[in-house]
């Protein structure tokens, strides 16, 4: 009996325990509700959605841990995913050049956001909110409201990003796994990870100890922008046509996934694994509702309730964790 409670204790002290618990609850609920939830088709669908979300959500989490927000990711994703086919159609650039240009644009946007935040001392919430509106505006100007198609003879190039295999798996899963592995290693083992947690946990302390807080944050802004670019390209590969609303409302979903995964809005707390679990939960809900035949109108309401529920679960496990650690 004592041994069992010991295992229970060490499971609960795992930082992501709260998120894991929420994930198990959601999985069980949907498995019971509809038998189709556990089919291969359903599972691969969840994994594909999760991996695409996570590629963007992980850097958003890192930035949140470091104490800043990026509300512009949806618009940057929209811009990059529109830019590529637009360059190919309007300027007849080859696909690789168009992709490269979009990548550089993303880097510059990220650097711009970071610089505005730390040089002009404007809160990141404001800077990226402005970005959200501005870059979306650029998308509207470029598209004039019409969708942009990748020329059919160039579609092959994008298979590199998101080739769909017969059994339902998608190449984007590999991209996600590689990306997640790199970010996890850096956050956990590299000194940069230490700097990220310190910058958000106690900015004054970090600066006093010599951590280059502003450089860390600017780098992370560039990372979120580039991740928006990567996710955008993956979506271009999947749908081959992009319209002006691509990526709308994504930023809130990203923050929701981070918070569900245990990240704190005030910074200093969060993890890669937690965010992946958060994306998994959102993916399961999206897929589960569709499989159960519930109208997608419910999706938004349920995500709202989920965020609340997940934060309560996380807070409770967090308190238990502190109690058992002392």
């Amino acid at each position: 009996m004592a041994r069992l409670s010991g295992i229970f204790q060490s499971a609960a002290t795992l930082r992501e325990a709260g998120a894991l618990l929420s994930a198990i609850i959601v999985a069980v609920v949907f498995s019971v509700w509809t038998p189709y939830f556990l089919t291969l088709e359903s599972i691969t669908s969840v994994l594909v959605v999760t991996s695409e979300m996570a590629i963007l959500a992980m850097p958003v989490t890192l930035l949140m841990i470091a104490g800043e927000f990026d509300l512009s990711v949806g618009s940057v994703l929209g811009l990059c995913s529109v830019l590529v086919p637009w360059l190919m159609v309007t300027w007849k650039f080859p696909p690789i050049v168009s992709v490269l240009i979009a990548f550089i644009v993303a880097l510059l946007i990220g650097y711009l956001h970071g610089s505005l935040v730390h040089k002009l001392r404007i809160p990141s919430f404001i800077v990226t909110l402005a970005g959200l509106l501005f870059w979306r505006g650029v998308v509207f100007v470029l598209t004039q409201g019409f969708p942009v198609r990748v020329p059919p003879d160039q579609v092959w190039f994008f298979q590199f990003f998101a080739h769909r295999f017969p059994n339902g798996f998608n190449l984007s899963l590999i991209w996600f796994l590689a990306y997640a592995a790199i970010l996890f290693l850096i956050l956990t083992y590299d000194r940069f990870g230490n700097w990220v947690y310190a910058s958000g946990g106690n900015e004054r302390a970090a600066r006093k100890m010599g951590v280059p807080v502003d450089k860390v944050r600017t780098l992370l802004f560039m990372l979120t922008a580039v991740s928006a670019f990567l996710t955008g390209i993956i979506q271009v590969a999947r749908f081959t046509s992009v319209d002006a609303s691509r990526g709308e409302s994504l930023e809130l979903e990203m923050i929701a996934a981070s918070v569900i995964g245990g990240a704190s809005l005030s910074g200093g707390v969060g993890s890669i694994v937690g965010t992946i679990i958060g994306c998994l939960i959102v993916g399961m809900i999206r897929n589960g509702l569709a499989t159960a035949g519930i109208a997608s109108y419910w999706y938004t309401a349920i995500i709202g309730l989920l965020i609340l529920g997940a934060v309560i679960v996380n807070k409770t496990t967090g308190r238990l964790r502190t109690k058992w650690a002392t």
């Binding site: 083992y189 230490n194 302390a205 650690a325």
Partner: protein, 258 residues
């Protein structure tokens, strides 16, 4: 006083230092010395000039006039970096620790390269090694911690303060400037910090114990300097220090005739 004291001359000497901030003459010709392996209490009420003196010692500001000598040589502490390189380590009231991070990560915050393996642009921290080094540094000052993996937030105020001191000592602090180390602590936590201060002296480092609490100072200091309105009004070794007289001096703000 200290059998390990093989070198002569004070560790730090401040000579006739003056500093004004705007219209306020914060320090008006302050002189005193800190010996090796010695705990000097710098006492005074708020506004006496203690904070100004700290900012001069850790290189945040430079004196308008007067000199500072480190191990007998005149130095210009023109930046916090220079002060730190010399061995003057300031432990601030807010401790510069990140609550949610573990003790060992806080220990090497900003200095991760000392426990990292460098691969290109990456500095991969050797976590087991860092934990061991952190445990050693803390144990060296007699502080009892269950595990250096615990986040700083679970520690008591006294433990946190002691670890901040251990950090300063571990990174070569020869003179530890402690800014009000016991002000926010309970009796038991205070005892812990004072014990750490004594162990620091045993290790051969000196401590400038800055406080407005005379009682705490009397438990550890071997020399007392009383500051009032930017001037030194009393400068005595322990044998000649009178608790009541010094307490009154701090409150009254001037030398009291016996």
């Amino acid at each position: 006083m200290n059998a390990h004291n093989l070198q002569t001359g004070p560790l730090l000497e401040v000579r006739n230092v003056k500093k004004a901030f705007g219209n306020v003459q914060a320090l008006n010709g302050v002189s005193f010395a800190i010996g090796r392996a010695s705990v000097v209490a710098l006492l005074g009420d708020n506004g006496a000039g203690k904070s100004s003196l700290i900012s001069l010692l850790n290189g945040l500001y430079t004196p308008d006039s007067g000199e500072i000598f480190w191990q007998g040589q005149a130095v210009r502490l023109s930046s916090p970096r220079i002060a730190a390189v010399l061995g003057i380590a300031t432990v601030f009231q807010d401790l510069a620790m990140v609550d949610e991070m573990s003790i060992y990560r806080n220990m090497f915050l900003g200095r991760e390269e000392l426990v990292s393996r460098r691969i290109g642009p990456f500095y991969f921290m050797a976590h087991s090694y860092a934990k061991r080094e952190a445990s050693k540094a803390i144990a060296a000052l007699g502080i009892k911690i269950k595990s250096t993996e615990a986040p700083v937030v679970v520690l008591s105020g006294g433990q946190r303060q002691s670890i901040a001191i251990a950090r300063a000592v571990h990174f070569g602090g020869r003179l530890l400037v402690l800014d009000e180390p016991t002000s926010a602590l309970s009796l038991r936590q205070t005892a812990q910090v004072l014990a750490t201060v004594e162990r620091t002296r045993e290790k051969g480092a000196s401590v400038l114990f800055i406080s407005h609490n005379v009682r705490h100072a009397f438990q550890v200091a071997d020399h007392f300097v009383v500051l009032s309105q930017g001037e030194v009004v009393r400068d005595v070794p322990r044998e000649q220090a009178d608790f009541d007289q010094i307490s009154t001096m701090i409150m009254e703000g001037k030398a009291v005739e016996r």
